[in-house]
């Protein structure tokens, strides 16, 4: 379906990758809605996935008491709704992540504050 208009109605999208310092990555921690919404962060495509987890995630999610208790080997990753196995040694790009990719991670056994998924 397209927009009904009196004249051609076609404008450049506001959020193409070239307009950002780095491609955007959306990242959410399942069952920890104390962080009210997933995060949106520009992340250089060359960043190694392991560095993202060890280097950036603490800054995003460290304020939650459960974060320190995460067993990273048990973490289950989801990408656009599908189970997904990232390779910590490869870059985000080599893991198939691009501009505005969405990844979520589930931490079995940790269900947020008082088990309330917050």
């Amino acid at each position: 379906m397209t927009v009904k208009s009196v004249a051609p109605y076609d404008f450049p999208p506001q959020d193409t990758v070239d307009q950002f310092p780095a491609p955007l990555l959306y990242i959410g921690w399942e069952d920890h809605k104390m962080f009210c919404a997933p995060f949106c962060v520009p992340m250089p495509p060359t960043t190694l996935f392991g560095d993202l987890v060890k280097g950036a995630l603490p800054g995003f999610f460290g304020a939650h008491p459960d974060f320190a208790r995460i067993d990273w080997d048990q973490v289950q990753w989801i990408r656009s709704g599908q189970p997904w196995q990232p390779d910590a040694a490869k870059s985000l790009a080599d893991n198939g992540l691009g501009h505005k990719s969405l990844i979520r991670f589930r931490t079995p056994g940790l269900k947020g504050l008082g088990g309330s998924s917050h």
């Binding site: 397209t2 506001q14 310092p21 656009s80 917050h118």
Partner: protein, 515 residues
């Protein structure tokens, strides 16, 4: 205004002579050139004179009654100002609901004014044209009476002073702004279904009861006065919205699917804007009128239900998102307040953890969900705050491409899971908070790829002050964005507990009541 001269003419006939009869079909210019915007939406109108304006107001009556209302309203505003009425409110936390109103709702009244001037020029039918122009002039009344009654609050409390600047820039205000931009940039018929019907009729009581009764319950006679006075205009607007949708549906069966798609879209987008209202009802009013859940059950499920079975004879079905909205009623306000608590450092009003008494009320009103899902969250925040670690979320959130609300909404049948939807279009991925927003995008992608998403604009570097130098090592981007918002750090934002508003309110109140 008694019309002795033409007593023999009925109100209806007299009105027709004074409105419909004034118009003529142009011959020196093509009708299509005088009214160029009535074809492209695909709506078919065969006879504009079938439109019935139940209020049939002529200008002399309009001036007479509206001036009388203005005299009464401004007398109350002056009295309220003269005796420091703001000190009579239950608690200065309430004033933060007014900040949200002035920065988020008042600018929409002005947009309605300009939108109705546009459709009030473009409709070929004399009846609808005049009714729309009267609404246009009513709407600037609402914008201006709100500015005037809140002007006194602006003198004494922080967060009102940059309402114009902030409505066009601050992250959460892009939700109401994009909503109305969407309606006014749509075609004239869609604008009428969106604002005249879906927003003014279906959802108006969900906006009216919280703000006006909320004001009355919290001792704010000023806001109550403009609310009641403005709401009497609303009854004309609601009626126009109802009459126009009946008129369109009666004109041609081909109009039904177009109107139904608009109803689905605009119920959902309007409902998404009401997220701010749900939060305000349950969390921002010290003396609560009713819960969002109760307001939804009375004004949406009962009243809305009566309306839609009244419209069923036209083939209209209840909007697609209706069921989900009914499921959300137990969660919406809590999730919204958590979002503003998270980002309290970037909001132009104060946030706070609900008190024990507040939470007792919330438990009673939300027996199935509050204690299990939300009490643990507030109690954690209270403990953290007590130990000097008041939580502020320092990373920017992902926004929905259509409603532009942070992705805080949960799955309709699993309130523990954030809802994610996405679509690919011309090689780019777009993300949404719900089936409702995704279908709005899929229906008109060329429109929503233009969205000015505040978080993305920050990352694109479009939200820094003119003299900012992002290359400097000590450059703090988020602090500069707040300067760009003209948000005075430590004064307009942060927790209510240590705010200047709280200190001033308590000092002034004791000054007014003790020696």
């Amino acid at each position: 205004m008694d019309m002795k001269a033409s007593k023999k003419l009925s109100l209806k006939d007299r009105y027709n002579l004074m409105t419909r009869d004034l118009a003529w079909t142009p011959t020196y210019q093509a009708v299509q050139d005088v009214f160029p915007y009535t074809q492209y939406e695909g709506i078919k109108i065969h006879d504009w004179d079938q439109f019935e304006d139940p209020f049939r107001m002529t200008m002399d009556a309009y001036w007479k009654y509206q001036a009388e209302k203005e005299r009464k309203l401004y007398a109350i505003i002056d009295a309220f100002t003269q005796n420091n009425g703001h000190l009579g409110v239950t608690d200065a936390r309430y004033i933060n609901a007014l900040k949200l109103f002035l920065t988020g709702v008042t600018p929409l009244e002005y947009m309605a004014h300009r939108g109705f001037a546009h459709v009030g020029r473009q409709f070929p039918g004399a009846g609808p044209r005049v009714a729309c122009l009267m609404q246009s002039v009513d709407e600037i009344r609402h914008a201006q009476t709100q500015i005037h009654s809140l002007s006194n609050y602006n003198k004494h409390y922080n967060g009102f002073q940059n309402w114009r600047h902030q409505h066009d820039r601050v992250w959460y205000l892009s939700v109401p702004k994009s909503f109305f931009d969407d309606a006014v940039t749509a075609g004239p018929f869609e604008f009428m279904v969106a604002i005249g019907f879906a927003f003014e009729y279906v959802l108006t009581n969900l906006l009216f009861v919280p703000f006006i009764s909320g004001a009355a319950y919290n001792g704010d006679m000023g806001a109550m006065a403009f609310g009641f006075s403005a709401q009497s205009d609303e009854s004309r607007h609601m009626t126009l919205g109802l009459e126009i949708i009946k008129f369109i549906l009666e004109q041609d069966p081909d109009n039904l699917p177009i109107v139904q798609a608009w109803l689905d879209k605009w119920f959902w987008r309007g409902y998404r804007v009401l997220t701010l209202v749900a939060m305000m009802m349950d969390y921002m009013l010290p003396k609560r009128v009713m819960s969002w859940k109760e307001a939804w059950e009375v004004y949406a499920e009962q009243n809305g239900g009566a309306l839609f079975n009244d419209l069923a004879r036209y083939g209209v079905k209840v909007p697609k998102g209706w069921e989900q909205a009914c499921k959300d009623k137990d969660h919406l306000s809590h999730q919204a307040w958590n979002t503003f608590y998270n980002y309290g450092a970037a909001a132009a009003f104060h946030t706070w953890v609900p008190s024990e008494a507040d939470m007792k009320w919330l438990s009673e009103k939300y027996p199935d969900t509050f204690d299990q899902h939300y009490r643990p969250l507030w109690e954690h925040y209270a403990r953290e705050q007590a130990e000097g670690r008041r939580f502020y979320n320092g990373t920017l959130p992902m926004l929905c491409q259509v409603c532009q609300v942070p992705m805080m909404f949960t799955e309709p049948d699993d309130p523990t899971k954030i809802a994610y939807r996405e679509s690919d279009w011309r090689g780019n991925t777009y993300h949404f908070c719900s089936d409702g927003c995704k279908s709005i995008f899929d229906h008109e992608p060329e429109k929503y790829v233009q969205s000015w998403l505040p978080v993305h604009q920050i990352y694109q570097g479009n939200c820094f002050t003119a003299d900012a130098d992002p290359s400097q090592p000590d450059f703090d981007p988020l602090a500069d964005v707040l300067r760009w918002y003209k948000l005075a750090f430590g004064q307009d934002n942060l927790d209510y507990a240590d705010s200047q508003d709280k200190r001033n309110f308590e000092a002034w109140r004791s000054q007014a009541t003790s020696n």
